[in-house]
Amino acid sequence: MPQFDPAVWSPQLVWLAITFVALYLLMSRVALPRIGDILEERETRIARNLEKAETLKAKVDEAVATYEQRMADARARAQETLRQARDAAADEAARRHAELGAELSRRIGEGEARIAEAQAEAAAGVRDIAVDVAAGAAQRLLGGRIDRKGVTAATEAVLAETG
């Protein structure tokens, strides 16, 4: 086997030493730091972005909580306003109802009073007419002077009797 020929050992050892040292220097000084740097940079960048995302998420959560709180407040306020409006309307309606009732009953009272007055007037008119008719009739029948007072009393007595 050519591998066991000692004559070829020394050039191989020399060139192995040269090339391996060259490779080691190139790797450790040039190639590997570059790759390491970029990997590290990416790692920190990702970590930083994750951190940022986390804080943003916390902010969003907070905003959502605030929004919901405000929403609940607004809803409660709206309910309150609605209730107040309804109560006010109900009060107003009741008040107007009462007012109208009072007005109506006042008018009814007035009407009734007017009717009673008219009735009384009419009744008085009827009595006067009756008295006149009775007095006229009595004069025709009896002639002479008729005592008006007596006719009135008699007529009233008859009216009271007949109702």
Partner: protein
Amino acid sequence: MIKKRKTKGAGTAVANPLDQFIIKTILPINVGNVDASFTNSSLLMVIAVAVVTLFLTRSMRERKLVPGRWQSVAELTYQFVGNMVRTNAGSGGKPYFPFIFSLFMFILMGNMLGMIPYSFTFTSHIIVTLAMALMVFIGTTVVAFAKHGVKFFSFFLPHGTPWYIAPVLVPIEILSYFTRPVSLSLRLFANLTAGHTLLKVFTGFVFAMGLAGVIPLAASVALTGLEFLLAFLQAYVFAVLSCIYLHDALHMH
């Protein structure tokens, strides 16, 4: 300049399956008494370093926060080896990450580039794998001594061992410690050599068997797939074992 060694079978369809491991000198260099010639093995090592460096630097050129395809692959490679070091070497393994990464990429590229026809697999040479294994072995031992001092010797006597077993256990532990570089280097060397030889043997049969050659052809296609898996797996095993040895050095057992 290329000095080809003439081999038997060259020129015919059936080449010696071991010819692929021959070192061919491209540019003879001598530093003092040391032969430092630039060979096909050296060429592939240089190409491996160039490919890894270009791949990692070109793909990261735009340094995008959202990676494209190439950048994704580069980042995945980084994280793959990073996780390997973290899980196997434990805490304190981070300073050794560039070393493990270079080791893994170097072996992976050596194995993968070796799969290209007519190229060369430098990880199939025992001297290369042994040198890398010894580098890991000596390195981890030095780290262990630097971190634990003489207490490192207690590594050979695990906690809670009854005193009467110690005379047997300590030599076993020492032996197992020193076989580490051997097993580490042999595993890679043997796997790559055997796989590539087998591949060559089968493809040799394709021409030798005429029409029936489709059978070894199918086998070599399947073996090629297996070789790619092996190329990755052996690089991974080498790197993981290095991490585990590093863990032992840093934390003792």
